[in-house]
Point group: D2
Chain length 259, copies 4
Amino acid sequence: MNEAKHSRLELTVDLNADLGEGFGVYELGADRELLSVVTSANIACGFHAGDPTTVRTAVEQALAAGTAVGAHPGLPDRLGFGRRVMELTEDETYDLVLYQVSVLYGVTRAYGGVLKHVKPHGALYNMAAKQAPLAAAIARAVAKVDASLVLVGLAGSEILVAAERYGLASRSEVFADRRYHSDGSLVSRSDPRALIEDAEESVAQAIRMTQDGLVRALDGIDVPVRAETICIHGDGQHAVNFANRVRLALTAAGIVVTA
Amino acid sequence: MNEAKHSRLELTVDLNADLGEGFGVYELGADRELLSVVTSANIACGFHAGDPTTVRTAVEQALAAGTAVGAHPGLPDRLGFGRRVMELTEDETYDLVLYQVSVLYGVTRAYGGVLKHVKPHGALYNMAAKQAPLAAAIARAVAKVDASLVLVGLAGSEILVAAERYGLASRSEVFADRRYHSDGSLVSRSDPRALIEDAEESVAQAIRMTQDGLVRALDGIDVPVRAETICIHGDGQHAVNFANRVRLALTAAGIVVTA
Amino acid sequence: MNEAKHSRLELTVDLNADLGEGFGVYELGADRELLSVVTSANIACGFHAGDPTTVRTAVEQALAAGTAVGAHPGLPDRLGFGRRVMELTEDETYDLVLYQVSVLYGVTRAYGGVLKHVKPHGALYNMAAKQAPLAAAIARAVAKVDASLVLVGLAGSEILVAAERYGLASRSEVFADRRYHSDGSLVSRSDPRALIEDAEESVAQAIRMTQDGLVRALDGIDVPVRAETICIHGDGQHAVNFANRVRLALTAAGIVVTA
Amino acid sequence: MNEAKHSRLELTVDLNADLGEGFGVYELGADRELLSVVTSANIACGFHAGDPTTVRTAVEQALAAGTAVGAHPGLPDRLGFGRRVMELTEDETYDLVLYQVSVLYGVTRAYGGVLKHVKPHGALYNMAAKQAPLAAAIARAVAKVDASLVLVGLAGSEILVAAERYGLASRSEVFADRRYHSDGSLVSRSDPRALIEDAEESVAQAIRMTQDGLVRALDGIDVPVRAETICIHGDGQHAVNFANRVRLALTAAGIVVTA
């Protein structure tokens, strides 16, 4: 009885990282090490990054590590790593996501696992956060592949609204090492202030977002955010060390880290 | 004379065509028209040809037409349309096929259908016909995605051997409009005699292969072939007219055309 | 003396078309036929369309036809044929144009010709028409390759301003079969009114733009345009017939068609 | 003993490395550091590796370092880094090389430099070393772009024969850290013995090839090789340290390192 009661009061949060973002001879990120820290893996599908071998490898590794497997669809812009805004129609967006989620759906199933979630990548993520029609196209494609998939999107964004509209469960995402505007949007990577370089500050931001549901925006205002999953960047330096620090700090604060 | 007996004596054959081989603004083939004639559609997966929109469109059209949906994986050589030999390792081949079949598996399922077969494309098809390790890598990948898939390969080739080895059903393919060597292999497209340009001759070859299990090779020798499915090329001129002629001739000869 | 006087009074205009826009097995446009009509060829450089073989073929054909050879650089979006807006930095744009113009510069020179002009393609053209920094990046790259190149851009647009700033000659372009807004910009292809389907109307628009320097905008207002070159679309239906009609009508109106 | 006499007796050798082999966010090799050691840079042209930004950056850096700039054309197989054998026709090969050399020709010239040499990459290099028709196609394309270019190829290979046939100067290349067969060909990278991991042994091989024109093959036989340029791999670990050791050892042996 105590346990059940305790469990209901417990704060939980998911830690997610982008994996499988290499291509051919090019490696990126520390997939294996990150898999021992995060609870959800967003696996690149071969458009902004990734190829048939990285997809299969990342799925196998994530399943072996017991990490939840997700698809990480991106724009068809390998040269720009899916970070450049492209104007896509809703139909193009739908097809793009349908294809990429299908890849991960099939490969994960082939290896005896179940695809759990979808998190759009880069510019697609940011565009869909603000543009309801794009968010709807993404949610529609995800629901078409499997209505039990969880759609991950920026806290407070159109992606979460679209998930609900198409009957999908959603997960509200926050960033430990990114700075926020007072409308809850992320400061663009083209802005030098986009990234929090200080690990201490990042960890503190992660804890505060999870415990209090607040983040301090660039202009000093506290913005409410719903932290159901925290993004750990895998392609930066020290990503693994940082991921470990965040996880330890969350645990120390009594927060349960789980997918 | 009773129906069951008759049914056992009936000759049946499948007609298949490659669909969804456009890319972006580029169109190729007469997909819609061919779908009214063939019984199996091999849909390009986005490597040698195709893109997210062509895949989704072809799957939808094939399902609407009641045509069996198959995956048509090819080499990662869009510029060469997957027709140029590339030396791949077995692991590269496995991953390549796993990825491409997964796309079609997921998209077909999303549209309420079931992926039925896999037929490798172009140089991958020809290489695997002769190289047992490549054929095995393909069969292994197909079986990994779904052990109930049918693997289509050149009559008498290593692909059919590999299918059996990995517990997959297979379908032995013949070509109405391609010429054969006396070892049962196809005359390469780089040889001017590769294609039978005369429709009459093609139709006759199709009927003879299906009825008698024989094809006349370049050197005049009759080669035994097992005709379980006949390939109709969709990217040539007059493809649809030709497909219709073959189908009518088969029916007129009392052969049942069915997937 | 007569001749010189006459020459000063003569109206001249260039006719240009986009060529070499196929890719691998995919063909697009009627390059050979168009080359007998237009005076300038804009050759795709391998990014939005084209490949090493189409580039070499188009250069050879254009030189053989005596048509002026130009580079037609586009966005790195083959799937979208370079027609989708992408957010590029100025540096990315500069590098993209530098690379593509270099290809055409080198290949044309290899075949004994001289590259004459550069005309950006699709979304790059439209973005640079309005965004001065992108236009500047393009002009800077063109000037870097060869300061004697002519930069072609939409009449009244930022591209022509940038050309002047970087010391390049420019050519002001008008469209026979596109409709205009009253600010001189083109109606977007996503608008159903973008294209003039009626050949008569297109020819009349071409003549009026060249003779009177005016075009009737969607809202009925006459907009001044400087018609130094008229774009003939090569990828539409009836492109060659239309090009011939425009050329005949111009000649009949006493306008000299020349590069 | 007088300088002119000494100079005639001097042994010279070129040190070359492959540069500009990153792509988008992916970095590869230590370009800047290698440029301070080698005398010739082979710059990837955007097919097996590289993009518009890496090409421009590498050209600028090489020119600034006073290193000779060369083009490093490869197969259209970015996923396989141009290391997988592809069957190309002679015409396809010609066009592929013409395009890629033109890029480097134009960009180098744009930055006030002169393109000096061409060295095929990976599988294209190895195929052309043995297949006279491919070597001829390459030499023909290089000569078409600029007849004063130097064609670099494996010592004793068909590439050097083709260079002579098309009136090109050539440079005979040896590898410090690769093992040889007794016919003078390189042991394939798929063979675990392909690479000499021991730096000492590599340096010794480099010196012996340059001084004595000999290399010990796998089977223990001494094979004559003409060492006009030594390849330094830039994408391995410790590449820069190793390059420095080779250069120091050559200098210590009285060999002049120069392009």
